[in-house]
Subunit: 494 residues, 4 copies
């Protein structure tokens, strides 16, 4: 009998949310509220570093924000008018507190804090090079690499050292750094991760992962950070600069499909509305003979509402989500996953009894959750269950900051549509097309890049994948996986 | 600066959920799952007593089920094939662990466990009488009174003593008792509280507060416990008896309006569907010139869907509920309640911008939450906000197991509709009528009683209120509060 | 592999320490200091009840005082100028927090707190009688019985009810009760337990188990509470009364031998000096051909110093006690007790090498600890180990407040001296004689009773043992166990 | 009102205890037992790293060993047959968990763990140099410096890199390092810190700070690690090597006086016996007209026994030490230190009443503790109190691993003997002479160095103090502080 956390049974995991603010009273408190709105981006660790007249204070710990800051003195100790915060999803084997961000380093000449959302695709290579030169890494996270690159840069100023370092790393990253004098925000050259700037009522600036966090602190949205930018928040306000001009825009499609909050806007597109349009397109692409449309709460509510609207079928509440998900023993006679699903979702028999049901979900990863939901619906009297997925089938992993299962675990990577339908026990099954997805999201065209990263579905990566190439060697050889060349090779890569 | 729990900011509080099962492997584990589905009925304490071949084991503690049973050994220590569980809302001043149920008593001749959902209206009187006779009370809860009445009954058998005791208490109660040999379930003579019997796949029986808990353990619904019944679950199965025939049916209307889960059925009426009908009636009674209908998630989703359907206006997602509500400091410059609302609910600007919004909520208690929600909607661009409440205005407290604020705190008890609208800042405000509520719920007529207790709204109580009469002395004198005579006076009451 | 607490490996366990004070600022704080000096009398639970202008506040918990009051707010919540405190040894199966004292009861007409050091020998009988009359017991401790007896007494005043109750209980007891108006201290008619009165610098009075606790709060010793007395501490000062005149003085010999602190005086006899005299007598009764005398630190330091002095042999430090005893895993390949001894005691090889050692210990219960100590000494080079015990051999259990093992577990109850020596592996073994013990302690003769209870050694009990008679039925039949008649039979006992 | 830990009120603090073992079943468990015997060397943090077939596992935390390993799973997770452990005293401002040792680093090519007892006197200089070369330090402890020096060494093998690094650091150090293949033990060139090798019954080797830890794991003493040695423990057994031949022997005198356990031997001298001889010499140098000799338990028991023996006065127990020292509030009306002393030490009035007392203590740092003890003795009736200190007066700080107060806080640095006597309130006061100390300890002469570091008392340091020179600039100028030249200057120092 094992205890299993039922709270984080998502199969895809965002690797973080970040928040920084310069020049406001109780900056750590404000950062707490901001992180609270980003908790969905990481539940396994949280930390805040504050800046009190140039001295940095740090608190961090494992677990939810409310666990880490359960002792009220922790927030109170974080004096100062600037702060950096981070919520984190911890990958297996990297769950030590030393990996919880923001990382903070005390040099003899300065203090530095660093928070990272994303994943570096050349981390392993860089780490080896740095170690060969004598560098010692404390954490197992790739974030620490940036610190070493900065400290080893021969450039004369901190900003130049930082730009130097940013030009050496590859992959997806939204970085927030804080020195005694400023906060720096930098986005990767492809814009893989969402990153926005807001302004508080007092005129000060905030940089964070999602606009939802701006709302949480009553900040108004100013602009999206653009690929390749390096933005400074300091006593003089906001300064927009860039470390490279060789950029594209390829925001991760999964932010719209699954991760970002419905109340966030990314590059001007509201996430709820994008999902609603996915549902509408899905209804057009894959209609169903049915009586009602229901969602898997809460993640697919928007898509289900869109499906219902476009199909003309009534939108109904067929499943209720328990608001109190407890860790629990799972008795050995039932699978952990089945119990998790049953503790989380309950059917409304009065709604389902005798009905032909369209079940809209946002995605299928391994398929087991879908199987148990369909069982639950049938036990509650549903006559037919037609599963409609608001995104295309997942076939490929990505490496820009979302902890996607390897393709071995992806149901769609290994099965035909008919096999999948059979396996989950649905009467019919359909996914949104890749084109449908792109049109539903419709990121404004900036001229460079396709706007979206849809590699999950079509295997086409907007940049080389560096250290991860060996993992996809077979698919690369077979030509099912392809990638664009780098926009600007790093030193020594040419 | 104070730390405040933002998790339990409801203004009305259910006083408990109960669950009992006889004859199943790992009964405590099953009870844990059952209680998990009842967590909404009480978040401040939880406990389970198991029965291992006649020996009772107890574990209980303060907080959510997941907190109380965080140590996996606690559940494992609860050996046995029968169990009783309880989740509890602790009223102020009664938060000690000694009040957490199930209460368990070790007599020289037997062990006894007791779990209670409800509130006894003659508790104070009975307690004084018992103390005058030498009884010592350990807890401050009125539940303990039943134990003393049982032990002091001159009747020869336990069942007769229990019936004797049940006939002396007044008010609302669903009791579960466990002896080494059986579980007993008893409902008050007016059926104030929901209470159902289910059957497990192995043929054994379960008694619990809501059908949602039956679903959680894969039990099928057998019947509602009827007012005045005393039901025995033991090795011989289920035995239905009664301790009185003088009964009415007056289920608490607030179970349908607010407390029970949407996936539960009470006396055959599904709660979600009842709420949907409340929304539909409300749309008929109080239409609005508007563009969209939105709900306050999650409690008023059903009513909002009903309103949208009946009004023909589009049902939209205007507010998102944060799934991770953290305890936090509240800075002194903002009200605790405002911060709580802002951390819990976020607007979707893209949906609200420039819209005339119908905001459907299930109830208004003090009105401050409504005020902050309306502010949030206006900040996000809503042009007009028309508030529609899926239940009539609260004007009177009740005493049958829901911790209703005294009438001094009830907004509707002291203000006109216009004043309320002004105070919350809505463009218009309307409540469902009492008749509308009754017709929307439509509890099957059993011949005795009106089916519902609607005293909250009309001041008419289905039975005397005993120890609470002094609280309402003015209204009784003024004739605004009235009550039916008792169906059967207790010994010495005639 | 099991985790075992190595801290409480004593084989005899005192059942409590109590402390009360009336009329001093921060009474709970002072009580904390007093209890701190009594921690050796009970390590498994602690509690304090304070009295703030007639309102009683309670805090209690499992574990050491420092654990229970780890949160500084707990002491701060205990407002008021009077307080009652208790440290507790929890017997098996009675470890719930509901058994932690002081017990506190909220009657409709008054609050009452109660702390007890001792054991009632007719508890089972009284409990059965009370339950037959409808009483409900919350705790499994016999302390609660007194509360029921008080509340059921037909006498008109609280003091008379209390006297009435005190005359019904049998066995050993030092009781402290607190009402809104006073603290009451009562000692059993045989004076089994130590109990003293002291006076603070401000003139207020303190009642507690040992004079060491008086020193801890800078109170001066006033007098020993005498058997049968009922003393009141209130705003008028100290009032000495009695509930019975039929008394003897038979203080428990184990207080001098083992339990009380060396810096305490009991009936005018300093414990350290009494132990030193035990060692001196032992040297006379059982000399040894040896080079050095060493103690088992810390409990037998006094006796060893006495033995050395009287024998003329050098007193040496052969064993060092670790001040940090940790709970730990015990690997399965070694006995828990052996590891416990080895983690607690270390030999000084430089002292022991090649020496003939007299090892003075205060007692032998099961003998296993002695066996491991002797092994340790031999491994460190001791040539001979002559064990000398500062008390007679334990052969009989007692029932007045010390949790003595049943005679089945007592080494001396079942073995000859030669067998014991063999079993523990000593070169020679001797115990102090019963006469030697009595003369070494030499409690002042008050005319009634022998002064001491030495039933552990000679089987003669100063009063009947009531509910425990069946346990010793064989020895009673054989005449090896005898007891004096009760000084004054209770109602119905004649 | 502040909460203060009363447990660690020592004014001098050892900076650690270390333990390593290669090739034994359950190596982490054995290490736990070894560290348990070294807990007196550091109570503020503990950690163990185990080696499971070349993979290192780490557990560490703040507090006592029993706190850090309270969860039994922690030890169980430390699989493997080799382990390294550390207990730590945390200096102010360095209390984060990242400073708790053993430090562990995961390089791409190997894992490395490091535990350190001592203090590097050129840490600041080295750290600055390393940072200038791009090194990033995670901890604020100087231990991490060794890691950077190793990794930056151009030498081809790990052992050569390690020797290279050891030759660059200055000050006091006993290092234990563990790689997948071996444990390495290295002692500084002056032998400032104790360090011993033992052998387990299975033939495997152990390296640790004190012989007491060897006894705790039933290992027999093999040899002291000698200054300048580098010893390898691996599958081939023990290999003794050295990284420098330029050494002296100057073991820190405070180990004998105060820190080491009485049951430990250092360079063949038993600590208890050395202290006893200090007491004997003290009796000869400073006799007293008195009735009894008493110790301050437990640290000065040995010296007091020696004083009593040499003076012919009776050795008595005048003070009892409480075994349960709790953290507590200290009320504002009394000094924290006074309360700490009173909660820790209680007088035996029966022993002290009317007596002229020789109070033997091991040292005086600030003098306040002595003042309160003397008050306690006088309150308990002592007629005269003659204080005799078993070591010379502390006048100078040292920098080799004991956290000595700066000379500003040292009573003896700033006062005459008469002033000190007056301040603590003694009838007479005397210290042991420096010569007396040296002769009492009598470390075997190895030809190089004086055997002892007595700089605390005479201001003569056996080596330069590097980064600490500015602190003692005045005394160096005045010639009261002097130091020997380094035995072998490091690169660049010549």
């Amino acid at each position: 009998m094992a205890i299993e956390p039922l709270t984080s049974d998502r199969s895809l995991n965002e690797e973080c949310g970040i928040f920084g603010v310069w020049n406001v009273e109780n900056a750590a408190q404000l950062t707490f509220y901001g992180l609270h709105a980003l908790q969905h981006r990481g539940q396994e660790g949280a930390g805040i570093v504050s800046n009190d007249h140039g001295h940095l204070w740090q608190e961090r710990g494992l677990g939810l924000l409310s666990t880490v800051f359960a002792d009220p003195e922790k927030l109170q100790r974080l004096h100062g008018t600037a702060a950096l915060g981070h919520v984190r999803y911890a990958t297996a084997g990297a769950s030590g507190v030393e990996n919880i961000q923001p990382l903070m380093v005390n040099f003899s000449d300065m203090q530095l804090a660093l928070a990272h959302n994303g994943n570096l695709t050349n981390a392993k290579t860089l780490r080896k090079q740095l170690e060969a030169e004598g560098a010692i890494f404390q954490s197992s996270s790739d974030t620490e690499i940036l610190l070493h690159l900065i400290r080893r840069s021969p450039k004369p100023t901190f900003v130049e050292q930082l730009k130097d370092a940013l030009n050496q790393v590859r992959g997806g990253f939204a970085f927030l750094l804080m020195t005694p004098d400023a906060i720096y925000a930098a986005l990767d050259p492809h814009g893989y991760r969402p990153f926005v700037i807001g302004q508080l009522p007092n005129g000060s600036y905030v940089a964070t992962s999602e606009t939802a966090a701006l709302n949480a602190v009553s900040a108004k949205f100013i602009r999206d950070v653009q690929p390749g930018e390096l933005i400074t928040l300091n006593d003089e306000g906001l300064k927009i600069d860039h470390y490279t001009n060789d950029t594209t825009l390829n925001i991760d499609a999964m932010e719209y499909v699954y991760f970002a909050r419905p109340d966030s806007d990314i590059y001007g597109v509201n996430v709820h509305e994008a999902r609603q349009r996915m549902g509408e397109r899905l209804a057009q692409e894959a209609p169903a003979e049915a009586d009602i449309v229901i969602a898997v709460p809460n993640s697919s509510l928007s898509a289900a509402m869109g499906y219902a609207k476009a199909s003309g079928l009534p939108y109904e509440m067929g499943l209720v989500k328990n608001q109190y998900i407890a860790r629990t023993f799972i008795e050995p006679t039932q699978s952990r996953r089945e119990r998790a699903v049953r503790m989380k979702l309950s059917p409304i028999r009065a709604v389902l009894q005798g009905k032909r049901v369209v079940l809209v979900d946002d995605s299928i990863v391994r398929g087991t959750t879908s199987k148990y939901i369909i069982q639950i619906l049938r036990e509650a009297g549903a006559k037919e269950v037609h599963v409609r997925i608001g995104s295309p089938a997942f076939k490929y992993p990505t490496f820009y900051g979302i902890d996607m299962q390897t393709s071995r675990e992806l149901l769609a990577a290994n099965r035909s549509l008919a096999e999948m339908r059979e396996l989950i026990g649905a009467d019919s099954l359909a996914f949104l097309s890749v084109d449908g997805l792109k049109q539903a999201i419709n990121v404004p065209n900036t001229g460079k890049g396709s706007g979206l990263t849809a590699a999950y579905f079509d295997g086409h990566y907007p940049s080389p994948i560096y250290d991860y190439e060996p993992e996809l060697a077979d698919q690369i050889a077979a030509g099912t996986v392809t990638f664009d060349p780098e926009v600007k090779p790093a030193k020594g890569e040419q």
